[in-house]
Every structure is written in C-alpha cells, then in structure tokens.
Symmetry: C2
Subunit: 248 residues, 2 copies
Amino acid sequence: MLKVIVIGSGNVGSHLVNMFDNSSQIDLVQWYSRSQITHKKIEVINNINFLKEADIYILCVSDNAIKGLSNKLNFKNKLVVHTSGSTPFQDICKKNKRGVFYPLQTFSKIKELDYTKIPICIESENKEDLELLKNLCEKINCKYYEINFEQRKTLHLAAVISNNFTNYLFGLSKEIILDKNLDFEILKPLINETVDKIHKLDPIESQTGPARRNDQNIIEMQVNMLENQEHRNLYKIISQMIKNKYDN
Amino acid sequence: MLKVIVIGSGNVGSHLVNMFDNSSQIDLVQWYSRSQITHKKIEVINNINFLKEADIYILCVSDNAIKGLSNKLNFKNKLVVHTSGSTPFQDICKKNKRGVFYPLQTFSKIKELDYTKIPICIESENKEDLELLKNLCEKINCKYYEINFEQRKTLHLAAVISNNFTNYLFGLSKEIILDKNLDFEILKPLINETVDKIHKLDPIESQTGPARRNDQNIIEMQVNMLENQEHRNLYKIISQMIKNKYDN
C-alpha cells in the first residue's frame, strides 16, 4: 500500500482526498487542514507537527504558501510534492525530496468529477521518486505525463484561457440572455456542441461566425446591442482577432 | 405528411435536409441548390423556377441573400421562412406568408449532430402559420421556442459569444500548446469539464482562476509568456474584466 498524506482542504485537497479514499490500493494516512473539518474515515489533523510517516506528502495549498509550509514540516528526506501549475518544485524546502503532482482539471468542491479522466502532470527532483508518482497515478487510474516546469507553465496558461476565460464568456452569455428574460437552457445544446466539436474537428479549422466570414453588418449590430462598454470592447477585440487570423 | 422544400445547400441547408429526410412524417419534396450536388433520395434542382408545391419553403441562405431570393420565388401566399438569427422576417418578399425557423446550433457539414437536441426558434407573421412551424418541429422531435426578433437577436449574440468566441479561445490554447510541442489531448478533459460544469453550477458563481482570486503574480507571469502582442492584450482585458466583476 502506498502511504499518502494530503495537506490542505481547498478545492484540490478535498478532491484528492476523495480520489485516494476511493482507491483500495492507497493508504490515505492523514489529512491536514487548518480549518475545522471532519471525515468519516480519514484522520484529520490541524497541527502540522503531528504528521505521521508516509511515502508521499501532497501540498494542496496556494502557490505562495508552498515555501512557508514546506519549511515547517518537521521531517526530512521524504517525498513532498505540490499541486501547482506555475510553481517550480524548488519552492519546496530542500530538506525533503521534491516533486510535482499537478492535476490538470478544474475543481469545485460541490461538483463531482470522473477522477479517471484527470491528466496528472508529474515531475520530480530525483529519478526514483518519479516512479513513486507514476505508481500513485496508476493506483487511481489516472493518465500521467512527465512534464517539466516550462511545459507545466504552458499547460497552466492554456488551461486559464480554455477554462477560466471560456467560463467567463459562458457567464457573460447567461447575463445577456437573462437580461432579456430568456432562458439560459436554450443556449446549452449549442455550448455542448461547441465542446463536442473539439473532439472531432480542429477548433482552428472549424471556426465559424460573423467575424470568421467577415460579416460586418452583424458585427456592428451585435456591438451596438451590448450596453456595457467593457463588453463592447471585448466583442470588438475578439472579432478583430478572428478577422486577422483568418485574413478575410 | 407535411411537405417541405429546403432552399440552399450550405451548412444549415445540408443539415436540415438530413433532419427532414430522417423523419417519416415529413415529405421533403425538393432541395434547391445553386451548386451541383446530388442526393440519393431527394430531388435536387438548381433552377429556382422549378420549385414544386409545398407547405413550407425554408430559405437556408446567407442573410443578405434572403431579400433577393425570396423576390425571385414565382409563387405567392405560401409559407416562406428563413433560418437567420439576426434578420427580421420582413426581409422575405411579402407576396408570400413569412416566418422564421432558426435552429440555435452550430453546423459543420462534416460533423454529425443529435438533431433532437437542437432548439428551434420560431416566429411567424400569421398566427396559423405558427402552428405549421410547431408541427414541423414536433415531427423532427425538436424543442421549439416562440421567439420574436428582438429576442432572437439576443440569442444570436449570446451564441456568438458562447460558441464562436470560446471556440476561438480553444484554438488559441491549442496553438500555445502545440508551440511548445505538447499534446492538445492533455487539455481536453479540462475543456469537457468546463462545459459539464454549466449544467450543474452557475458559470457566474463557479468562476475560478488567477483573475478570480486576483493572483497578480500568475497574471503577470502568464502575460509575459505570451509572445503575440494581440494575445497579451486579450489576456489582460479578460483578466481585468473578471477582476472587475468579482471586485477583488
């Protein structure tokens, strides 16, 4: 059994605890959380000095807490990894062996996930620890990728654009629709198809819409429909970028 | 049997022909196309003067072709509808009865679709014709919504933002990833989850990411990673909009 301890109880920490708890091949020894939480099966502690022995310690804390927290760990020469997309493993205090276990997914506490569909980006200071991380991924049936810091930062950037920014646009569409007392449900089949398409067609080749076909009448009409100046500006900029890209 | 004629063989026209052809309750009388195409079952014509008798004529042509083409129809008092999101039915020549049959979906010729998941926005000049359009939607098992011109324009605008613009961002993410010799497949589970989430959580409430939590270090780092000035600008603008919205 691979012994794992999860440190942190934010969105990532909470989902990792579920993920490891679901695996019969992982011994989730403890869960450290600053806040008062309980778990039906796992020992939860809120004093960092009471951490037990484990094979892998996973820091699920905000980027700027990695350094300080890893300094406070009162053991050495163990494998300590963080889960950040944009932090080098060198931020972890060097008294321990260091690595990264970065799940490339968006986590919300109240939303269930199919854990086997999460790609894990792994990296380690020492070669033998990489085997330990691969082993951990296999035990939870996740695909893993050996990814260095530069690559990981690139993936994180692409994740922000394709997840955070698109979600913002979905929210903006919803606002526009609710504003006119229409039902957001009408738009959902289109949003589903938008994503379904990327599995079958290249998004760059399959671009459609007024900007793609340089339909200036529709572009102007839609800009004028937007009441918020920021929204107008965004609409114009993205339309212009699409027009430039496809060189109408 | 409801007799239908489809006019136009672009993305929308081609999919409507499939849709009607799949229904045993619709008699797809003819398909008009300017370009040389054939169909195993349907009579295809390329001379507009040879259109036969039907209950509904559906114009699947570009917005600015609706007026001219509807003028050329050599019959009157029949129901003629267009499929445009941003054109009033009044653009159709008034010698015929007029309406709209706007499928709120993105169509690519080579991508199959689940036709029963397409919401159809219908509108008609005369009340009795609305029944005919409802009947048509029912025969192809599509949900329909009675939508006036102002509402339809709003839906079209929201569709451009949540489909065309997000697809552009997916394409941009792909470019960024390929540029560093990484595999776009790594990002697909995240993109799937981005959309899966909108069915369970409000996109406005579930916004995450560096801009949402006002993580200026990551924002600056990611801006600097973008080599293209247009991309930098877009990243900054959307991040600022998210920051403003959530008032960090």
